[in-house]
């Protein structure tokens, strides 16, 4: 690739300002994984079908494989690496671990980000609301049961903390 074609892009990634040199065609997923070395977000289809690449852009769950990195210049991006607080897993992460919500783990980062966004806007979602919110994230291992259990458990724990 012609180096002259590279352009700078600055994003707030998991709270830190990160600048990278990318081409205008670089997707957000490629920038995160291959330029910034944040490999938590996964590529399962590169077509927006599977949801494994889901990250938050300004708090909104976004398919990073279908989003140009440049479109996120100056915006806040949160990935699975940004969920833990000083090494302490977020209650959602802990709940996925405890309930068996992660098996092979490949869909888990995207699943967590969709669930995180749901809990940001709805502290006490119903099971139907959870399953609707996660319906863009494919999982082949769990049959989804334990993923829904995990989100319910995390929601309850977060509500408890907020008291």
């Amino acid at each position: 690739m012609d180096a002259a074609a590279l352009v700078p892009c600055t994003m707030q990634v998991n709270g830190d300002a990160r600048t990278c040199a990318i081409t205008p065609a670089t997707t957000l997923l490629e920038a995160l994984r291959y330029t910034l070395g944040l490999t938590g977000s996964k590529q399962g289809c590169d077509k927006g079908d599977c949801g494994a690449c889901t990250v938050l852009v300004d708090g909104v769950p976004t398919l990073s494989c279908l989003t140009l990195a440049l479109a996120c210049d100056g915006r806040a991006v949160t990935t699975v690496e940004g969920l833990a607080d000083k090494g302490v897993p977020h209650p959602l992460q802990d709940a996925f671990d405890r309930t068996g919500g992660a098996q092979c783990g490949f869909c888990t980062p995207g699943m967590l980000m969709s669930a995180y966004a749901l809990l940001q806007r709805e502290a006490a979602p119903t099971r139907d609301e959870i399953s609707h919110a996660l319906s863009g994230n494919l999982c082949r291992c769990t049959g989804y049961t334990k993923i829904l259990d995990a989100v319910e458990l995390a929601a309850a724990e977060l509500r408890e903390r907020a008291k």
Binding site: K42, D97, C141, G143, D149
Partner: protein
Amino acid sequence: MARSRTASPERPARKTITLPASVGVNVPRKDGRDKVTGAALYLDDLRVPGVLHGRTVRSTVANARIVSVTLDPAFDWTGMTVVDHRDIPGENCVAVIERDQPMLASTHVRHVDEPILLLAHEDAERVEAAVSAVKIEYEPLTPALNLEESLEKKALVRGDDNVFKTIRIERGDLDEAFVRSDRVIEGEYWCGHQEQLYIENNAMLAERTKDGGIHIRGSMQCPYYVHGALQVLLNLPPEKVRIEQTVTGGGFGGKEDYPSVIGGHAALLAWKSGRPVKIVYDRLEDLAATTKRHPARVRIKTGVMNDGTLVALDADVVMDGGAYLTLTPVVLSRGAIHAGGCYRWDAARIFARAVATNTPPNGAFRGFGAPQTLFAIESHMDRIAAELGMDPLALRRKNAVKLGDVTPTGQVLKESVGSHEVLERTAKRAKYAEKRARYERENAAAEAAERAGKGAKDGRRLRRGIGMALAMHGAGFTGSGESKLNSLAALDLTPDGRPCVRISNTEIGQGTNTVFGQIVGEVLGIPHEQVLVHVPDTDHVPDSGPTVASRTLMVVGGLIEKCAKKMKEKLELFAEHPIEGGADFARIAKRWLKERGPLRVEQRYQKPTGIEWDDDTYQGDAYGVFAYAAIAVEVEVDLDTAETKLLHVTTAQDIGRAIHPVLCAGQIEGGTLQGLGWALMEEVRHKDGKVWNHQLTNYIIPTSADAPPIDVEIVEIPYSNGPWGAKGVGELPMDVPAPAVIAAIAHATGCRLDEIPATPERLMRALQRRGA
């Protein structure tokens, strides 16, 4: 005695464990933290300096002679590594059971997307562009694109009859049994391809080593399969081939045999370029080119008595193996052995054939041939029940095997037979009888209301139904398979005094590493966290066999249990006192290491006594034991759109003993949804031999919005040769959903499909034929 429990998902793991008791406890996953924080490194997450990106140039026709392969001179090939069949140092084959499949096609292609040429470049975009700069000229030949065309010998794909393998299982006097039957009932059942659809696509990295060997890392189930294939391909001795598993994003059989292909390709590119080469498939390539579940046609003729007693079974099974053999004979074998279902037959004949077609080779997929034949026999049970005017549950109750019964291979079921237990528990838990009556009442009322012009307010014509299915699944390799595998497991001490499990069985999401920690911890009386499980790496672990056939826990877990007992005995003799917990173990272990040097114990597989199998007659003990599953599926069908909604699923499964109930329930829930997907929506469509729906946009798998609540009851009837009584659980859940869905749809609509998936299109045609 049977024990039963519901795996409570809310059971908190991290905080409430009392150690050292580990078996039967939902301890935290060993790999859990890394997976939920994004720290787990899958193949494409590895950063490798100087890596080249590999791509595969594939055929576009189903059957042809290759006339020429040309690199477009207008394209800039600088820095491009190009590999064809002439670059192969050893034998041009994918060595599995046979060596019929070329690693790279040379003179002929026998299916669309067959690999012909390999390319690698440090720029991923350039190598992608290069794929279309390779021009291949073909002389097309007539292909045989499905099992019917293969049987008709429209093209000869294999030998002079297209048959990969034939199996005959015969028991009792079939003619006599038909003569004395009150009725003869026949059916024909079809099921199509299914894609495993692990969310992480196939991915491999190959590097030449300084000692003239090859090191492969990647997403796989069976490192020693790749190890064997690479020795043949590169003409290397075993010690020069090193295969190492990376964190694997699902397998389901799809990473049993295929990693030898992609691993071989990466190795050839690395061999020629001298650089590390990574091949990571995208979804399009993975869905189009890799192995799938074998499509099958099963014809069944049964003799039954008017009271529902089954007498005679005559089954004719045909499976489509695709263009090359891969694991097809073994898939066919399991399919044939399971074709009689979970029932007693006075006489049975099962005739099974696998045939070759000009389509990408099919391979392993959870259940390994059994879901196909079980779909057929379970659907047929519902047909028998309907013809006799019997409730399908009553028919199953009357004929399901019991302790002491004999299978079509002549196997006497000597222990751990949970068939009736799972059937009754499922029926009770699902309120089967009550729901069946209620849905019939409601459906009749809805129909009457619609006739009277007083249907549902929103105008929808909905019908509900409930269907059941029952199956048994042989755990471990079929027949003499486990003896031939001759698995070896080892347990040793790390320099800091921790026990380390050394096996080639892989963690692919099912929780293998966690339960091996539990087993060793339980035997040694130490916390399970203290136990390490070595990365499956052929330089560092012995060959304990492949991660397939629901064998890892039951067979290899048993070997590791024995290893742990040996280690305990040695250390306690040495210490002259029993091990008293984790700290004491560490003290003793360190003292041993200091005074006596390394400690390693091993255990090789030994066939349990009383298990005999004859490969020639196909008679004997096909498996050490069977696991049992029953399911009840409730559906709602929209008569106008022919869409089927899954309302609720109840399943009880006898797996001997749940070492980790949450992980077991996870297998059952996940396998159930995979089976429901196969039943309702997953359909691989071909056009001229090419998979045309090779993306997730149109190869549809269930989402969370499609998934019904799945109520799981684990039944535990222990098996004397499994660790703590455990039997295999991985494949069993795949066996029962599909026939239960078809039965539920038939109950709801009166319309029975004999082919899956029951897509709206297929069901609509059936409803229209019936004039609904």
